[in-house]
């Protein structure tokens, strides 16, 4: 099992990975991407089982990355981990093909609630 974590903040990538471990996903491999463009490339090269992506990133945002993936025919499971969780953003994310949107701040329980169904 491999998860691709995309966030322009190294600190936040570290916190997301730590939270994954705390949520009990000890045995997953984690690959990191530092923006949407890097994420798009690494979905191709790393073939992750799940993408956890920030929304606001330089070069390419998370939603642009998701739309590009779907336009290329990729069906990789994709969820957002972002500082904004408004109903409009959740709808936009869902319409683009995201499975969930986790708003920061989050807890290991939040991760389990969103990820268990995807990684089962």
């Amino acid at each position: 099992m491999k998860i691709l974590v995309a966030d322009d903040s190294r600190v936040m990538r570290q916190i997301v990975v730590r939270t994954l471990r705390q949520a009990g996903y000890d045995d997953v491999d984690v690959v990191e991407a530092e923006d949407g463009a890097d994420c798009l490339a690494k979905v191709g090269s790393e073939s992750p089982d799940l993408v956890l992506s920030d929304w606001n990133m330089p070069n390419m945002t998370g939603i642009e990355c998701l739309r590009a993936l779907r336009a290329q025919g990729s069906a990789v499971p994709f969820g957002f981990v972002t500082s904004e969780g408004s109903p409009e953003m959740r709808e936009t994310a869902s319409d683009a093909g995201a499975l969930f949107l986790i708003a920061k701040p989050f807890t290991p329980d939040t991760f389990r609630d969103a990820l268990d169904a995807v990684l089962a």
Partner: protein
Amino acid sequence: MSAPITALLDGETVTAVAGEVWSALVGEEEFLLPGLGPVAPAVDGPSAWVTVTGPWDGVVVLTCAASGTADLTRSVLQLDDDEQPTAEDVEDVLRELANILGGNVKSLLPGPSALGLPETGPAPLRAEDADTCRVSASWRGHPLAITVQGASEAPAHPTTEVPK
């Protein structure tokens, strides 16, 4: 144009949002102590902020006393007490805290609106008091200020400076 921030948000709400962010990112047992009084005292330290663009235009600024930034970074990154974080890590932590504070504040404001990318540096110039919601707090004795200010005319005081 939207109402000024003081009509949209109060300090108590900002303090509550900041408390949740602190518990989740800095540590479950870490508490922000709210400051006293409606106007924060001056905080001498680096700032990080994000812009909010929409019906209400402005910026959410976190300023942390310089004495507390290393300690804060160690807590967020769960480093050892004797470990000295890099300047890059300190800035990244401040940016991310401001980003999450901004995202949560934005969700309380009229929408739709967009959040900018977080930045660090000297605090943005202060806005008019009527369009500024500022709270003070302390964490482990280090003063902090969280300022939600409109993009109104920017007079000549740094964000955390108390006007004479």
